[in-house]
Symmetry: C2
Subunit: 345 residues, 2 copies
């Protein structure tokens, strides 16, 4: 088995720097668009064979060192009682957003095996099809990032409703994040039990907060999730964007691997999260649109900042963008593997 | 004259920490909405008496320590040949975006006195009405932030077209930023000559870039603008958001005062920009929606991080949001002044 990714999670030496991409299964791939032409996003997520197929498409097309389950971070919200829709071109819409103590109280507990069994079935299916050749990563949204969708009713630029609830009704806020931490923890542990060999916690929008607010309103809940995962035995990746000033707190919340976005030079970010963690990142997704020599310069810079130190997983700083040329993604895999051969002793 | 603001720009001791707010004139104020009900944004900017009136509204309502000219960062693009429109609820739209070398070549040079004389007239009018009681700040968008609107044709979340031009056609990119730096420099120098006692350069979206890209593609052009201002004799404020990792480079580009957003603890950010600069910031604009005790805690934290060191200008980390309660903005002015009285010797 190609175990570069799992070794890097544990900061063990590797023959090549492992590489995978957030949103490596997605609209930029013609194979994916072919399936999406016939099925909605939620249909693909609900049907294990489709989710497994989409998960494996980039494995076959790119030569990455890990598969990541195809799913959406908002899936666990559906059994909690949220009416979720993916409106064309608009991103997710939640028709009954959570904005009061009563709304939080009405959120239903989730029996993951029952309500999200299709996701766990997809995990088992992918594991079987990978035949032990490549590790499979599971994932979930972190309590804060999920809460932001729940409260805003969709995406946001300012997160104003979210912050108003946080500042204005801290008890309601903590009740909401507590419920989300419970579901997310159950969900990730179940993914590990179903066969996921690592999991990533996406706190994509935590960077909207000051460190003081992150520490007071978010950290304890992410910590709840990540400490449960530590006991489950699979390595965890803790990811955020705009997170330069949050890194020490995100590391304190937990995670064997801390994700860095492209705003954070990898060496600088690694020093901030501490030598006892691995790091993942951090090519700007926009660099995948650059001419090959510029793209190569970016890849070389990330690797130079990692300096061959055990514990670096190459990735983007955020997800692959929809119009990304596939051949450039393939080229990055080749470059990372070629440029990261350890020097002969 | 209340010279707290200008003294703080020069890192001189003050009797109270000076405070003003980005976008202190705007939709959250009933007086402003009354004028906007009768005039478009561009009409207000084009008529010096209206621009002056709107500039003075928050001075009267809030008790701030500085006025900032009411204008829009995109105004200088109109005489360059851009068809700018503010579509209701959608932000700015540029109908003929700049995406090629030919588009850049077609951008017209700007005679600021002629093409933006209405802005300079508003500066003179506000100075006269302020009667030397309060300083007036002028401002402009920085070359990168203006370029992002020009290339995207409006606002953006990913800045993908902007980065594609930057990576794919660096000569076109530098020609574009060179032209913008020329216009912005002329415009800010003219504002100072018309009476602005300080100017702020808004590089609001520079934080979309990695430090390496900022240094290669942006820094030289901001430096061109800021070094011209240094010669013009008025203090300059250099502002960005998401800028934690850019701060040393933004300081290197120039500015007597460096703006910090709320993601950057003020003491940590000040250490990164250097003791030879003043800093401005950095309350989260969303904190203005919080209950009074929470708002007070946030204000106290910012002041505690500044630690009474000469050279702190209190402000938000970004502009006031449209639905902000006016009484909370007023309360922050009172708090800042009350909490920042130097201790008796």
């Amino acid at each position: 088995m190609n175990d570069r990714f799992l070794r890097a999670c544990r900061r063990l030496p590797v023959d090549r720097t492992p590489v995978w991409f957030m949103r490596q299964a997605g609209r930029y791939m013609p194979e994916y668009r072919a399936i999406r032409a016939r099925h909605s996003l939620l249909e693909i997520c609900a049907q294990p064979d489709l989710a497994a197929e989409v998960t494996l498409q980039p494995v076959r097309a790119l030569g990455v060192d890990a598969a990541i389950l195809f799913a959406d971070i908002l899936l666990p919200l559906i059994p909690m009682g949220l009416q979720l829709e993916f409106a064309a071109g608009e991103g997710p819409v939640i028709h009954n957003p959570v904005r009061s103590a009563a709304d939080v109280a009405a959120l239903r507990p989730v029996d993951v095996d029952e309500a999200l069994g299709h996701v766990l079935a997809a995990v088992r299916l992918v594991r079987r099809e990978l035949e032990g050749q490549l590790p499979l990563i599971g994932f979930a949204g972190a309590p804060f990032t999920l809460a932001s969708y729940l409260v805003e009713g969709g995406s946001s630029r300012t997160f104003l409703r979210t912050k108003r609830l946080m500042y204005g009704e801290p008890e309601t806020w903590h009740a909401l994040l507590g419920k989300l931490a419970q579901v997310v923890g159950d969900y990730l542990v179940a993914q590990v039990q179903a066969g996921a060999q690592a999991v990533q916690l996406f706190d994509s929008w935590a960077g909207a907060l000051s460190p003081a607010d992150y520490e007071a309103y978010v950290l304890p809940h992410s910590q709840t999730v990540l400490s449960r995962l530590a006991a489950a035995g699979a390595p965890t990746i803790h990811f955020g964007t705009d997170s330069a000033t949050l890194l020490p707190l995100m590391a304190a919340a937990g995670g064997d691997v801390i994700g860095l976005d492209w705003r954070t030079p990898l060496d600088w970010g690694w020093a901030r999260v501490g030598a006892d963690r691995a790091v993942q990142g951090n090519l700007d997704p926009a660099a995948l649109f650059a001419p090959r020599p510029v793209l190569e310069r970016h890849v070389r810079r990330v690797l130079a900042e990692a300096a061959g130190r055990p514990g670096h997983i190459f990735n983007l700083g955020h997800g692959i963008l929809p119009e990304t040329p596939v051949e450039n993604v393939q080229a990055v895999v080749t470059m990372v593997h070629e440029f990261s051969v350890p020097e002969a002793a």
